[in-house]
Amino acid sequence: MKTTLIILAIVFLVSLPLVLHRPKAGTESFGGADDKARAEVERMHPDYKPWVQPLWNPPSGEIATLLFSLQAAIGAGAIGYYLGYLKGRGKKD
């Protein structure tokens, strides 16, 4: 019961911004905060040039999404396995 309520609260918290946020014309909505910070650095210090590039870039947004999903799926699988193991072992301890 308590768990269900908490999960509902999380869903509410995460979906609320999608409803509340009114995008300004010509700006990208829900871009990454990391990109905004980079833009701020470039705005304040236009002469700064990054001195290293990433060794490898995901070739497309789809590939990046694939890798992020894989990261989440591996983690969720491990947590689910552990909780299932505990539950199967029973509440004995």
Partner: protein
């Protein structure tokens, strides 16, 4: 909170590496000791890493109209202490730097300091401080992990402001600008992380009370609120 590859001047990137390395070394020692003394803790250690893996992959929308991700490092810090998280968190950051071009190798020292050191220490300190004051288990877990997550982003803002002070208003001006980008965005996301952590911790309490007591997360005797 990922400072991108090349987006810290050399001196700053190197400086944060120097600051973070001793924490990582202490973490490796702590990790070895835990595995040697309680081999059964390996499953829970794996789960703590998995939690960071999941949460740091999820970019969630926030009221500011930008997206950011939770960190997941408070959970393991409460269970095993903050040292261990310096290692587990850095492994996740390394994975993201190499495979996702998210963060970077030169900025890994700085990113590890915010996500794998500051966040876990704040969560660990708050958890034990609040427990000593008699706050309930769920509330303590919630506050500790929420504020640990938030402080990670405050730290990132300070790191960027140190490297890129505003030309007119200096460090403070830049710090406020980066706080608006990172910390304000993070508030609802940090609350969500706190809530998820409470759900997971309560599941452990139901099914694995003995191990939580063994780790001194819960007292061995007496009922707990």
């Amino acid at each position: 909170m990922h400072i991108m590859e090349g987006y810290l001047p050399f001196a700053h990137a190197a400086g944060w590496w120097v600051v973070s390395l001793p924490f990582m070394a202490a973490g490796v020692r702590s990790l070895k000791r835990i595995v040697r003394e309680t081999p059964s803790a390996r499953a829970l250690l794996g789960t703590s890493s998995a939690f960071v893996f999941v949460l740091s992959a999820l970019k969630l929308p926030s009221v500011t109209g930008s997206c950011s991700h939770p960190t997941g490092t408070g959970f393991g810090a409460i269970l095993f202490g903050p040292s261990v998280m310096a290692v587990l968190g850095s492994i996740v950051l390394l994975f993201q730097a190499l495979l996702l071009a998210h963060g970077g190798l030169t900025t890994l020292g700085a990113n590890a300091f915010s996500m794998a050191i500051v966040g876990p220490w704040v969560a660990y300190g708050l958890f034990h401080g609040l427990r000593r004051c008699g706050a309930s288990f769920s509330l303590t877990v919630f506050l500790a992990t929420t504020l640990g997550d938030l402080m990670t982003y405050v730290c990132t803002s300070a790191q960027l402001a140190l490297a890129f002070p505003d030309t007119t208003s200096g460090f403070i001006g830049a710090f406020v600008k980066f706080l608006v980008i990172f910390a304000v965005t993070q508030i609802p996301i940090a609350v969500a992380e706190g809530l998820v952590t409470v759900v997971l911790m309560n599941a452990l309490k139901s099914y694995n009370l003995k191990e939580l007591q063994g780790l001194h997360v819960l007292p061995s005797q007496g009922l707990d609120p």
